[in-house]
């Protein structure tokens, strides 16, 4: 009798615990969903503000060129190095399988298409998000918490135009340029990879790559890099510009800038593939 009562009580406690747990999970899901929707709404508003502001005077041309220099030129060593390694490693990884199928001579073709169409733009954009997205998020975040943005407004400057518009335009225009350079450097890495265990002349390698590529390979992948650049810039600026909670908030802004921008890059890439497919460019 005592054992039965004890078992019932234990069972009831277990059920109660389960119910509480389910409620907590439900509440967290609602909170997370609410947070996600709020964030999407706020980012959309930020984008609308950007689109309705960027073409209106006064133009912050000096700041725009400064940002192009910082974002573009200063990212070149990192983008170049990673691009070179990417091309080299991709070729070395691909070689054994290609040798097995007896199509070793097609390595430049496959590597060229893979780099130009997909790997080059996406990897460059991800590295760009890591370097530039975090730096914009942290810079604007620290400016926000140290009242520098307020100081700008008091000085008769529109901080949105000065800080956000110049940076977003610079990221949008610089990433395609960096991607082209990264693709070229990557292909040089691939050329080196081909020659580690084989022998192909530079001229033959490049002619194989260029012959394999068509308008449909180059243009869509080039266009999508503008959107990648825009995503990195707008998310970095949004997170930094709306940073709060002191120095902790600055760290979170930098981190969130990279995470959200990286996810967006993949989403844009997915959409780009679908659109080019629908338009018959694949």
């Amino acid at each position: 009798m005592f054992i039965k009562k004890s078992c019932d009580r234990h069972h009831r406690i277990l059920l109660l615990k389960q119910e509480v747990l389910m409620n907590i999970i439900k509440m967290n899901s609602y909170n997370n969903a609410g947070y996600f929707l709020r964030e999407v709404g706020e980012i959309s508003r930020f984008i609308v503000k950007f689109l309705s502001t960027w073409f209106k005077p006064r133009y912050e041309i000096k700041e725009f060129f400064k940002q192009c220099f910082v974002i573009g030129y200063k990212s070149l060593p990192l983008i170049g190095l990673t691009g070179f390694i990417m091309g080299l490693v991709l070729t070395m990884q691909l070689r054994p399988s290609m040798v097995d199928y007896g199509v070793e001579s097609e390595i430049p073709v496959i590597v060229g298409i893979a780099i130009i169409r997909e790997i080059g733009p996406v990897i460059t954009a991800l590295i760009f998000a890591g370097k530039i997205g975090s730096s914009i998020g942290a810079e604007l975040g620290s400016m926000k918490v140290t009242e520098q943005i307020d100081a700008m407004e008091v000085s008769g400057t529109n901080p949105f135009k000065y800080l956000v518009v110049s940076r977003v335009l610079a990221t949008t225009l610089m990433l395609p340029v960096l991607t082209i350079l990264s693709d070229v450097i990557s292909l040089y890495g691939a050329y080196l990879g081909v020659n580690i265990k084989g022998e192909t002349s530079m001229q033959l390698f490049w002619s194989q790559v260029i012959d394999a590529l068509s308008f449909n390979d180059v243009i869509p992948s080039f266009i999508k890099t503008y959107f990648f650049g825009f995503a990195v810039g707008i998310i970095g600026c949004y997170k930094g510009y709306n940073s709060n909670k002191g120095t902790e908030g600055v760290g979170k802004s930098a981190n969130a800038s990279v995470v959200i921008a990286s996810v967006l890059i993949f989403i844009i890439d997915l959409l780009a593939v679908q659109i080019t497919d629908l338009l018959g460019y694949n």
Partner: protein
């Protein structure tokens, strides 16, 4: 506010109300600031002092009430008018708000470049050197803010505030975070600036030394209202326990 004053009113805050959710920060708050006068707004931390100063400069919008700066109501100004009025107001931020990525020279150049008041290179250089001389830091002109001490940063921020020769200066906790000697130097500078440029200053502070040395009049901000308005000496001898708590 029955004290007779000769100089004209440069800042008039009337029945200001500001709330954040259910929290009423400013409730029917009023006062006047005259030319060549230093008023210190004294209140506890979180009493709404910084909100008041941000409403005055237009960084926040009050829920009710009016703010007249040099005779013009700021809520009725468009962006251009607000910018022009802001050129006549200096704002010293609590955190100094110096631009980290710019040198001292560029920090001081920024407000000159931003406003439509056109200056050529030599005029700009002269104004920068004059502002730095006012705060006795001419040698720091090509240094970065990160190379400066806390007191020096405060002085440079003050120089940036002075560069447009403002008629009104708003100081947000000018001595917070400084050692007593540097704080005293900053207070001395505030007084020197008042004498030299005949500015009107609104100083937000809870540093009693600053209140004592820099104020012509003190406004006590308690529960969002202007609880008392008088000179430091008169307030110190007041028997009201809400006033006395600041002097104990």
């Amino acid at each position: 506010m029955s004290i007779e004053k000769i100089n004209p009113v440069v800042l008039q805050v009337s029945n200001l109300k500001k709330r954040f959710g259910n929290n009423i920060v400013l409730d029917d708050f009023s006062f006047e600031l005259h030319r060549n006068e230093n008023i210190v707004v004294l209140g506890k931390s979180g009493s709404g002092k910084s909100v008041l100063i941000k409403c005055i400069i237009g960084l926040m919008k009050p829920d009710e009430g009016s703010i007249h700066i040099l005779g013009k109501e700021i809520s009725q100004m468009n962006a251009e008018e607000l910018d022009k009025t802001r050129a006549k107001i200096g704002f010293l931020f609590q955190s100094n708000a110096l631009y980290d990525s710019m040198t001292v020279r560029e920090n001081l150049e920024f407000p000159l470049r931003r406003h439509w008041i056109k200056h050529n290179k030599s005029e700009m250089d002269q104004l920068i050197k004059q502002a730095l001389a006012d705060v006795k830091l001419t040698h720091t002109i090509d240094m970065m803010p990160s190379e400066l001490s806390g007191g020096m940063r405060k002085r440079i921020a003050l120089a940036r505030t002075l560069i447009l020769k403002p008629e009104i200066i708003l100081y947000d906790e000018p001595t917070t975070g400084l050692d007593p000697i540097t704080a005293k130097e900053i207070i001395q500078l505030i007084n020197e600036i008042k004498i030299k440029y005949k500015t009107a200053s609104l100083i937000i502070s809870h540093d009693m030394n600053c209140v004592k040395l820099a104020s012509d009049f003190v406004v006590m901000l308690i529960d969002g209202k202007c609880y008392a308005y008088d000179t430091y000496t008169n307030l110190k001898t007041n028997k009201d326990k809400n006033i006395l708590q600041f002097f104990e």
